[in-house]
């Protein structure tokens, strides 16, 4: 953590129509890290990611990316700076083909050659190559998740936000998606991973933050959180 943080949240407060979802959250992410955000439903994990992406405007606090304040920017400007997201529920464009979805992921890269990026995504997820011309809405849940992640890579992000990539997937598929996330990180992309599957996320991540109804409950190195009795009881289940 000696390096300047890539992303920094300072006392972030987010409210939906008067109801506060996040009450003063501070966290930071160093370049190259995988940071996981854990917590129960309604803890404010997705809200945090949506605030970073500029889809909800914070009520108070600041978000800095590469030293620049981004909470005042509009969502497309945040993408242009290199922050992309594979959102909760995948939200692929169902009536469009797999390839159109991927091209939309590169929407901010006007006029650039996308072939190398498409090739890279198809290499990471060979299933998508098979389904290239198929409507995204006809894909299985796992394939849609691959598409959502692949799509988020097309903009060549510096920081990738992944919201519940394992949700609703078979255990074997979860394993393979997590392996892919690791290799994406090794290629130089910093990752924030929001997960309900706390054990898998902590095994993958360098550090973790635990949220509890919109507040930071714990923050530590991932392996220490894995052995933390509080975390074990609340999020990892008895073992």
């Amino acid at each position: 953590m000696a390096a300047a943080p890539l992303l920094e949240l300072k006392n972030l407060v987010v409210a939906y129509g008067g109801v506060e979802a996040i009450h003063g959250l501070s966290l930071s992410v160093a370049p190259g890290e995988i940071v996981t955000i854990l917590g129960a439903n309604g803890a404010g994990k997705s809200t945090t990611l949506m605030a970073i992406s500029g889809l909800v405007r914070p009520k108070a606090g600041e978000i800095h990316f590469k030293g620049q304040r981004i909470d005042v920017l509009r969502s497309h400007e945040v993408v242009q700076l290199g922050v992309t997201q594979a959102p909760e529920g995948r939200r692929v464009f169902g009536p469009m083909t797999v390839e159109e979805n991927l091209k939309l992921g590169a929407f901010t890269r006007r006029g650039q050659d996308l072939e190398p990026d498409l090739a890279r995504v198809y290499e990471l997820f060979p299933r998508l190559l098979e389904r290239q011309k198929q409507m995204a809405g006809t894909l299985s849940g796992g394939e849609q998740q691959m598409l959502a992640i692949g799509r988020a890579l097309m903009a060549r992000p510096t920081l990738l936000l992944l919201d519940e990539p394992s949700l609703g997937l078979a255990p074997l598929l979860v394993k393979s998606i997590f392996a892919t996330i690791k290799s994406i990180n090794e290629s130089g992309v910093t990752i924030i991973l929001v997960e309900q599957n706390a054990r898998a996320a902590l095994k993958l991540a360098n550090r973790g933050y635990v949220l509890d109804v919109g507040r930071l409950a714990l923050e530590d190195r991932a392996e220490r959180l894995l052995n933390n009795p509080q975390v074990r009881d609340a999020y990892l289940g008895a073992r």
Binding site: H76, R91, F93, P95, M96, T108, T138, G141
Partner: protein, 301 residues
Amino acid sequence: MAHFVEQIIYGLTVGSVYALIALGYTMVYGVMKLINFAHGELFTLGAFVGFFFLVTLDWGGVFGPALAIGLTIVMVSGSTALAGHLLERVAYRPLRHSDRLAAVVSALGASIFLQNVIMVVWGAQYRAYSASLLPQVIWRVAGQSFPLIRLFVFLTAILVMAGLYLFINHTRLGLAIRAAAIDQGAAKLMGVDVRKVIAVVFIIGPALGGLAGLLVGVYYGQINFNMGQLYGLKAFTAAVIGGIGNIPGAMVGGLLLGLLETLGDAYVSGAWKDAIAFVALILILVFRPTGILRERVAEKL
């Protein structure tokens, strides 16, 4: 069935006008989930701007019919596009974060306002386009007659729609419009500037609607300040028949409604023409509320 082919052509002509107007409803609905109730008035505005150039300024006499029509199409689409853009800025954009109902009320208000502006400027009486603008040519093939003006209206509408189809499916901006119509939030996450997309559909939709107004003026020869109400309602019906929010659906729905009305008029009863259109609307809403071209793929969760 002596004039069956004639009736089909007539139905397609009327239908292509409905389709042009319906596209404006469906594009705006697609991106904003809002029925632009003022759209019928932008259609009327197009008819009157066309009247201004073709009759008041007599461009037909100045430039000759072909050039006059070409220039008028540009002026009409340009001015209704501008009006649509202003409408969005003034009546809708400030309400983007408000209750859905507020935008609906604002749309209704804008509709009444525009209609009255048109009435104040051009009067409440019917206004006539000159009948001599296009040569009164009627081709006769195998006992069926094909008036030039009918083909002109139909082909103009079809050409413009083909252009729109290419734009939507093969340009970057078209891709952004489709994405924003499917999932506005996801489109934002892709880096689409949704505010710009909304501005663009409020330029293209009104331009198409205004052009439809011009075509109706040229075709029927007379226009009136409240003509947009019935046409707007019919075109909205066409958009719902095709599946509101669905661009090819609006085209198909418009043509279908035109055919249905015309054939009903010819073979059932002229008095029932409008009733047929709205019975079609009710049947679609009851039995297939997502329209005949409902999304081909079901969203998997």
